[in-house]
């Protein structure tokens, strides 16, 4: 089974020390202090791809849209078991919405043979959760969002569990080829081995610019987008908690007092 897995490099905003500041243009954020990581859900998609490859054979192609610095996440996916990689990189791709992004990914797949395409279900930076779904429509294949369990029924179909609210799994049978937008938590993403990392450093990452995609300028970036994020703003803050001040011994003492007063300890 040949698999394509799409990975995005995102700022590690899960770290409480990471502050997000809107830049002077209002359409971007200051990137200077960010450390970058593979998007959380994409990490689970990579693991699912490698697990399927180990069980059923085939090749895994890693696809990314990003600058040269994104090679870091691509190489890590290659080190875990990916076979080849494509990186779409052109300044004209900036500000692509989910449709323009999906169009770029589709262009990278035109020369790739695949049975299954996987993305993460949601990116931690822009949170659209729409790229994989739009991509499936562009490719003309079925899809499933929030896919948490993936089982190969035969070489024509998969059994896929979609995670809904409350943790309920909606089981579906889906024909191949298809696109799965993978939810977090369905597997245990491995660490790359030293040997894998060494081998990955020798694998070629094919770079595609606008000309290589075969797309026109008005199909990518802001021009190719249907919904453009035009202005970032700082959210209005609701009423805040009463903050207990002091060093840990003081704040803990105050909290213990409050809990006692309310009969909770």
């Amino acid at each position: 089974m040949n698999i394509v897995v799409c990975v995005k490099q995102v700022p590690d905003t899960s770290d409480p020390d990471t502050e997000v500041h809107i830049d002077g243009t209002g359409k971007g954020v200051d990137q200077g202090k960010f450390s970058f990581v593979i998007n959380d859900a994409d990490n689970f998609a990579v693991e699912e791809a490698i697990l399927l490859k180990e069980k059923h054979g085939g090749e895994v192609t890693v696809v990314n849209i990003g600058p040269e610095a994104a090679n870091q996440v691509i190489r890590m996916a290659l080190a875990k078991g990916g076979d080849s990689a494509v990186r779409l990189d052109d300044e004209k791709f900036a500000y692509s919405d989910p449709v323009a992004t999906a169009r770029l990914l589709a262009s990278a797949l035109k020369d790739v043979e695949y049975d299954l395409v996987m993305t993460g279900c949601l990116a931690t930076d822009d949170g659209y959760g729409a790229v994989g779904i739009a991509l499936a429509q562009l490719l003309g294949v079925p899809h499933a969002a929030y896919a948490k369990t993936v089982e190969v029924v035969d070489d024509k179909k998969l059994k896929v569990g979609r995670e809904l609210e409350g943790g309920l799994l909606e089981m579906n049978e889906i024909e191949l080829p298809c696109v799965l937008a993978i939810q977090t938590g369905g597997n245990e993403p491995r660490y790359a081995s030293f040997k894998g990392i060494r081998e990955a450093s020798k694998k070629e990452i094919k770079v595609m610019d606008l000309a290589a995609t075969g797309l026109s300028e008005d199909q990518v970036g802001e021009a190719g987008s249907v919904a453009v994020m035009t202005q970032y703003s700082v959210p209005e803050v609701g009423e805040l908690a009463e903050i207990l001040e002091g060093d840990p011994a003081e704040t803990a003492g105050k909290l213990a007092g409050i809990l006692k007063e309310k009969g909770l300890v």
Partner: protein, 320 residues
Amino acid sequence: MGDILVLAEHRQGELREVTLELLTLAGQLGGNVTALLLGSGVDDFASKIAGFADKVMVVDDPMFADFNQMAYQAALAEIIKNDKPGLVLIGNTGQGVDLVGSLAVELDLPFTTDAIAVVMEGDKPVVTRQYYGGKINGTINFKDAETYVIGVREAAVPAGEGGKSGEVAKVDNPVTAEITARKFLEYVEAAIGDVDITQSALLVSVGRGIREDKNLPMIEELAALMGADISGSRAVIDAGWLPADRQVGISGKTVKPKLYLALGISGAFQHVTGIKGSDLVVAINKDPDAPIFQYADFGIVDDLLKVVPALIDKIKETKG
């Protein structure tokens, strides 16, 4: 502006609340509101929805008994092409997310997902969304079109009282072809383990701020001392540090304890949606801007790994 079409959502024989939220939002935006109900034997849903819509369009067919994105998309595409609504609202839910992007691409319509606010500027909707885990907001402007498709976050707009009495119209199923590429099989319920956190009176809940699972024993000691159960955010469950049935939030459990002690939890909406029924929320987080402080009654801005040991000592003293 043109009419607003709202997709009703139901699951396992229950109409989902997001349906009434979307209809309430549609009513606020003005224009004629049509609810589209795809289902099988759903007359009771139709009469409930009629209180929130000017018209309820019901397509009653076994094909829609359970959610199948391909069947839903085929029906919606035909109805949108035919009726040309100005705006289509769909819940940004497990069902809606599966549908919005592909439906809009099929019909070549502008769309966005996970809207937390929608306003009309003339005939055009303008959407507010969250970015970077809710740390900042962003405004979405659409390209001009006849119809816009928007996925709206659950609970972004509280459901109103209704007060309408829309006409219920059964229409023929516009989907004539059999759907074969994707089939609904069954639902599998999440397992419940040794502790049912939806029934817990006291919850000590941990998030990413715990950093490593080797810090869990400290949390276990605190919970044991307080007689509390332990729950966690998605990150901690995904990491395998707590079992899946301890997850609080949209894709986990909705809890209603007397005390919810949130340790190192940032407070993304997916999480806080699950804790709104708590009597008292206390948050300990080193990030003063963490959204959790907007939902907490009391907060401590500090590293939980420093505060928790101190809290254990103080509670021991309190107990004498």
